[in-house]
């Protein structure tokens, strides 16, 4: 556990010493703020009409759910850029030898790297969550639904990061790692689109789709089915990363 912390801390230090972490935080926050404000504007426009409807969608449905929906999509673009360096850059700079000859296991190396990236991603999630919370000053939020959205986005970025770290273990260069993880994530995001086209209906593709599970939790429906999907997804890719890193010693 101590080793994981040491590795993660070093990784975070590098992230925050370079402009990478700061610019990611700033740019992502700017975009999310813009999305947030445009959703507020929409709500203002719709408010007179909503007043006449019974069981009308509330502030949470109109602001929070679209905001977190778009945030998930944008973080899918950002995560590969954060995770691509983790292992492949060390391999390229030959600093991986330091970790491989130190008394730490492959699992500790992978988890250390993973922890550093997820720390940054969860900071982004926290900063995103603050914006809707500011609505509490003048309005009311469905706190349960809001919490479900925060949880959904957190689980989503944890899953994204696990794919990114695995691709970084696999790839020889950071660019390749970014391309690989972006490809996998996008494919898993859109995999059930074909199902909606005609009456073709593939349960497997539907189950595989990240988007579907994400959207279900977003509505406030916390089913164990969806939570387990994210847990297995994350653990699966982390296990793959560990075994890939251990393979480094055998092949070359």
């Amino acid at each position: 556990m101590n080793n994981i912390r040491v590795i993660a801390w070093r990784e975070l230090k590098t992230l925050f010493l370079s402009p990478v972490a700061w610019s990611v935080l700033a740019i992502v926050q700017l975009i999310f703020a813009f999305l947030f404000l445009s959703q507020i504007e929409t709500f203002n426009l719709l408010q007179p009409k909503l007043a006449t409807i019974e069981h009308a969608p509330g502030l949470t449905d109109i602001v929070v759910i679209p905001l977190f929906g778009n945030a998930g999509l944008i973080l899918m673009l950002v995560t590969p850029l954060l995770t691509m360096r983790t292992v492949s850059e060390e391999r390229r700079n030959k600093t991986l030898a330091l970790l491989l000859s130190a008394p730490v296991t492959s699992a500790e190396i992978v988890l250390g790297k993973y922890l550093s990236v997820t720390t940054l991603l969860l900071i982004i999630v926290a900063l995103t969550a603050i914006m809707p919370l500011s609505l509490l000053i003048g309005g009311t939020l469905d706190i349960g639904k809001f919490a479900a959205n925060v949880l959904a986005l957190s689980m989503l970025v944890l899953a994204f990061a696990s794919v990114g770290v695995f691709m970084s273990c696999l790839a020889g260069t950071p660019t390749l790692a970014a391309m690989g993880s972006f490809g996998v994530l996008l494919l898993l995001w859109i995999v059930d689109w074909s199902a909606g086209m005609r009456d073709q209906h593939s349960e497997l593709f539907e189950y595989l789709s990240i988007l579907r599970h994400y959207q279900t939790i977003q509505t406030g429906l916390l089913a164990s089915d969806d939570v387990l999907y994210f847990i297995f997804f994350t653990i699966g890719f982390l296990l793959l990363s560990c075994s890939r890193l251990a393979l480094d010693r055998l092949q070359k």
Partner: protein
């Protein structure tokens, strides 16, 4: 003396290419083992296997009794390793980097500060400890790499070409450091510079095309260098006839009338008798020196012999 490293019939293949072929050796505390070989001989591969960065295709490596493949974490506690490219994080300062390495090797919070200061002093890094590694010269980066390998005071120190990129004064300092480390640690270093082995090592192994062609102490290496030739220079003409009758003399070759190369058999050194004869005859002895083969010649001879055997 405890045996720190034991390599037993270790081989390594890259696909079908054999990089290291059936190597066995051991290292005890207080020994400095020099790994000598031309480029591509398998030195780096051997070192990577010793440090657990590569798994051997066959054979067994034990560090302080722990198998590097079966119990990697226990075995690596006893290791300090400098790879051929120093593994440095360029965005950290020297001090931050060494603290990280110390933590990674499980040093307690109380010991880290003294360990880091000590390693910096030993490698001459005290003056640059707050500078970024990326801004340091190649020589200082190399030293930071060495500091990283010794910061946790491991019993076994493995250095892959430690003096590459250093200037002559730094090379001398690093060699002195290696000798100092060799007193209470076991050190393995690889190099293709022969004089480096002579200066800093107690034992030498020559590796050629993945095979060990020589495994000797430095004294043994000196014996290999002994060619059985003596150079004699005298003021008057060399008394060839008188010298020919001495025991152990095989042949005398006159370079000039005043300079001769005398070949003798290896078991008997006739230098004393030669001096006595020349002086008694009043020829005026000017010089009497054994001609040694250079390390380069020994090296070339051994590697060629190994090539001819195949």
């Amino acid at each position: 003396m405890t045996t720190l490293v034991e390599a037993d019939c270790v081989s390594r293949f890259y696909n079908k290419q054999c990089a290291v072929n059936d190597i066995s050796f051991s290292l005890k505390q207080g020994e400095v083992l020099g790994f000598l070989g031309p480029n591509g001989a398998g030195k780096t591969t051997t070192m990577q296997m010793l440090c657990g960065n590569l798994a051997p295709s066959a054979g067994q490596i034990k560090i302080n009794g722990f198998d590097i493949v079966e119990q990697p974490v226990s075995a690596k506690r006893y290791l300090g390793y400098l790879p051929d490219t120093p593994p440095l994080y360029k965005e950290l300062t020297v001090e931050e980097f060494l603290i990280y390495c110390a933590k990674l090797h499980g040093l307690g919070p109380g010991d880290i500060k003294t360990a880091v200061t000590h390693a910096q002093e030993r490698c001459g890094l005290s003056g640059v400890s707050r500078r970024l590694i990326g801004n340091l010269s190649k020589g200082y980066q190399q030293r930071a790499g060495i500091a990283q390998a010794i910061v946790h005071n491991p019993p076994v120190i493995i250095l892959d070409e430690p003096t590459v990129g250093l200037d002559p004064i730094q090379i001398r300092e690093i060699r002195a450091l290696i000798r100092e480390l060799g007193q209470d640690h076991g050190v393995i270093l690889s190099t293709h510079i022969l004089s480096e082995v002579q200066e800093s090592c107690t034992h030498v192994q020559i590796i050629h095309q993945g095979k060990l062609v020589l495994k000797e102490t430095i004294a043994g290496l000196h014996r290999h260098m002994n060619s059985g030739l003596i150079k004699l220079a005298s003021h008057l003409a060399v008394p060839v006839d008188a010298l020919q009758n001495l025991t152990g003399i095989l042949s005398i070759e006159l370079i000039t009338p005043h300079i001769a190369h005398i070949r003798h058999d290896g078991n008997h050194n006739p230098a004393e008798e030669i001096a006595e004869t020349v002086v008694n005859l009043g020829c005026g002895l000017l010089e009497l020196t054994p001609i040694k083969k250079s390390m380069e010649e020994v090296f070339i001879q051994l590697t060629q012999e190994a090539g001819a055997d195949e």
